[in-house]
C-alpha cells in the first residue's frame, strides 16, 4: 500500500513537473496566429464564398466555388472557379496554387476557400500574424494582405490587398446550389 502511494505521488510529481516545464519553457502562440488559425478553419469548412469589391471605382460582385466541375473529354476536374462580374477565372487541377500575380490576388480577394484558407493556415502556423482591432473587426496582417475577421468568432469578413478591399460571405453549399453553379 505504501509502495503504491509513493508510486502515485511520483507519477503526480512527473505530471506537474512536465506541465510546469512545458508551461514555462514553450512560447504561447500569438493571438494573431490563433485568430488566423480559426479563420482558416472557417474558410476550409466552406466551399463557396460570395464577395464584392471595388475595382477602379466599379463594384464587382462574384462567387468563388471549390469543387468538381465538368471538364473536357467528359472527365471531372477538381479545383476552384471564380465568377466575378460575368468574368470567369478558374484554377482547376491545382492551377490556383500555381497562379501568380493578378490572378492569385483576385482569387484571394474573392476569398476563394481553397486558395485563401491554406494561405491563412500557413501563416497561422509558421509566420507572425499581426492583429489590430477596429470596432468589431480584427485586421490580421498576413504579409502584404490583411484578412478582416469578426472580433468574437474570427469568421472571415473581407480581405484588404493594397488599396483594394473586399467583403466576403461564406455560404453553405446545398445540392440545389451546386447544381445551379454547375459543380459537384
Amino acid at each position: 500500500m505504501r509502495a503504491l502511494a509513493i508510486a502515485a505521488a511520483l507519477a503526480a510529481a512527473v505530471v506537474l513537473g512536465g506541465f510546469g516545464l512545458e508551461r514555462i519553457g514553450l512560447p504561447r502562440a500569438g493571438k494573431g496566429n490563433e485568430a488566423a488559425a480559426k479563420a482558416a478553419e472557417w474558410l476550409l469548412r466552406y466551399r463557396l464564398t460570395s464577395s464584392s469589391f471595388d475595382a477602379g471605382g466599379r463594384v464587382l460582385r462574384g462567387h468563388c466555388l471549390h469543387g468538381w466541375f465538368d471538364g473536357p473529354n467528359g472527365r471531372d476536374e477538381h479545383g476552384t472557379e471564380l465568377v466575378l462580374g460575368g468574368l470567369t477565372a478558374d484554377g482547376r487541377n491545382g492551377l490556383a496554387v500555381a497562379a501568380r500575380g493578378p490572378t492569385l490576388a483576385v482569387l484571394e480577394l474573392a476569398g476563394c476557400p481553397d486558395v485563401l484558407g491554406p494561405k491563412v493556415a500557413s501563416y497561422a502556423i509558421a509566420g507572425t500574424v499581426s492583429r489590430a482591432l477596429v470596432g468589431n473587426v480584427l485586421a490580421l496582417g498576413l504579409g502584404r494582405m490583411r484578412l478582416l475577421v469578426a472580433a468574437h468568432s474570427d469568421r472571415p469578413l473581407g480581405v484588404a490587398l493594397g488599396d483594394v478591399r473586399s467583403t466576403l460571405r461564406l455560404t453553405p453549399m446545398t445540392p440545389a446550389l451546386a447544381r445551379r453553379l454547375g459543380a459537384g
Binding site: 511520483l10 512527473v14 512536465g18 490563433e34 497561422a124
Partner: protein, 374 residues
C-alpha cells in the same frame, strides 16, 4: 563495477574511460560520414528540400520535420484541425532548441549540436547497458553498429531520436543501479521527446517488482509509470492551451496516421498506391522486414523477452496507423534491433561485412534525405 558506481570507485575512472575510447572514435567516424555527406550535398548545389535552410552548410540535416520542431520552439503550439500542424511534435526537443537559441545559436545550429553531442552520450550509455545485460563483446559491437547504422543519419538531424536513445539507455542504466528517482526523471524527459519511450516500461517492470523495500518499490513503480505520467503532462498542457488534450494524436491524422485495431489492413491496402506515388515508400517496408528479422535474431541470442517485445511494439504498432511511413526511423528506438544485429556479427568476417555495408549505406541514406522524409 559500472559507470554509475564510478563515484564509489574513483581509482577506476581513468582506466574505464580509456576502455571506452573506442566509442568516441566510432561516434566521430559515423558522424563524420553523415556531416561530410550533408556538406557535400549542400556544396554540390542540389535542389533544396522542405525545411532545409539554404544558409547552413549542414542545412540538409535540418530539413523535413526539423522545420516543425523549429516552429514549436519559435511560435509554440497551434492546432489546425484537418491540416498538418505542430502538436504532433513532442515538446522536449523544441525546449532544447529554445535553450540553445537563448545562448545565441540559430535553431538549426543548436539542433545539430544537441543531436550530435547527445548521440555520443547515447552511445556511451547504450554500450554500458548492453555490457551489463549481454556482456562486453556484444556491447562493443552494438556501440559500433549503432554509430554506423544506415538509418542512423537521423541521429545527426534536428530530430529528437538521439535524445530519446540516450534517455532509454540512461533510464535503463539507472534502473539497473536501482537509482529509481533518476530513472523516473529521465524516462519522463524521454517521453516528452518521443512516445516510443512508453514501451521502456515493459522491460523495467520486472526490475521494479524485484524491489522488496516498500519505499524503493514505490519509487521503482513510479519510474515505470513515469512515461505515462509524462504523456499525461503533455495532454494537460495541450488541453489547457489548445482545448484538446489529444491534439498530439489528432494532428497526426493530417499525415494520414490514425490508429485503429485493423489499421494494418488499411496500411496494406494503401501500400501499392503509396509506392506508385513515391517509390521510396518501399524503403520503410524493407526496414520493417529487416527490423523484424533482427528482433528474431535478438530473441535467438538470448536478449530478454520483454526487451524484444518492447522493440516489436515500437516497430509493429505504427503499421496499425494506416501507413508504413517512417518505420525505418521509429525502429531506431528499439534497442533489441541493435542487439539482434550485434548478435549476427560474432565472426570476424560477419563483423567486417556489417561495418563496411553499414558505412556505405549510412552515406547513401544521408543522401536520400534529398528525395524523401526520414
Amino acid at each position: 563495477m559500472s559507470e554509475l558506481a564510478l563515484g564509489r570507485y574513483p581509482v577506476g575512472i581513468g582506466a574505464r574511460l580509456r576502455e571506452r575510447r573506442f566509442v568516441v572514435g566510432w561516434w566521430a567516424a559515423g558522424r563524420g560520414l553523415v556531416l561530410a555527406t550533408a556538406a557535400v550535398v549542400h556544396l554540390a548545389g542540389l535542389p533544396r528540400v522542405t525545411g532545409e535552410r539554404a544558409d547552413n552548410v549542414l542545412g540538409l540535416l535540418g530539413a523535413w520535420d526539423g522545420r516543425w520542431y523549429r516552429i514549436v520552439a519559435a511560435h509554440g503550439y497551434l492546432l489546425e484541425p484537418g491540416r498538418q500542424s505542430d502538436p504532433a511534435f513532442f515538446p522536449l526537443y523544441p525546449l532544447l532548441l529554445r535553450a540553445g537559441h537563448s545562448l545565441g545559436l540559430g535553431y538549426v545550429t543548436s539542433g545539430l549540436l544537441i543531436s550530435n553531442l547527445v548521440f555520443l552520450g547515447a552511445l556511451v550509455a547504450f554500450e554500458a547497458v548492453t555490457r551489463e545485460l549481454l556482456g562486453a563483446q556484444l556491447a562493443r559491437r552494438t556501440a559500433v553498429y549503432v554509430a554506423l547504422f544506415p538509418f542512423g543519419f537521423v541521429f545527426s538531424m534536428t530530430y529528437p531520436e538521439s535524445v530519446v536513445l540516450c534517455a532509454i539507455a540512461v533510464t535503463t542504466l539507472a534502473a539497473l543501479r536501482r537509482r529509481w528517482l533518476l530513472a523516473a526523471v529521465v524516462a519522463a524527459l524521454g517521453t516528452l521527446a518521443r512516445p516510443e519511450m512508453l514501451f521502456l516500461s515493459l522491460p523495467l517492470l520486472p526490475l521494479a517488482l524485484r524491489e522488496r523495500d516498500p519505499r524503493r518499490r514505490g519509487l521503482a513503480l513510479g519510474a515505470v509509470a513515469a512515461p505515462v505520467a509524462a504523456l499525461g503532462s503533455f495532454s494537460l498542457y495541450l488541453g489547457l492551451r489548445l482545448h484538446d488534450p489529444l491534439a498530439w494524436t489528432h494532428a497526426e491524422r493530417a499525415w494520414g496516421r490514425r490508429f485503429t485495431p485493423f489499421g494494418f489492413v488499411t496500411t496494406l491496402e494503401r501500400l501499392p498506391r503509396a509506392v506508385a506515388g513515391n517509390t521510396w515508400a518501399i524503403r520503410d517496408v524493407v526496414f520493417f522486414v529487416v527490423y523484424l528479422a533482427l528482433l528474431a535474431a535478438a530473441l535467438r541470442a538470448g536478449v530478454p523477452r520483454l526487451w524484444v517485445l518492447a522493440g516489436a511494439l515500437v516497430v509493429v504498432l505504427p503499421v496499425f496507423s494506416g501507413t508504413f511511413d517512417s518505420i525505418a526511423r521509429f525502429g531506431l528506438l528499439a534497442p533489441a534491433v541493435f542487439w539482434g544485429l550485434a548478435s549476427l556479427g560474432e565472426s570476424r568476417r560477419a563483423d567486417l561485412a556489417i561495418r563496411t555495408a553499414s558505412a556505405v549505406l549510412l552515406v547513401a541514406c544521408t543522401v536520400h534525405v534529398l528525395y524523401v522524409f526520414p
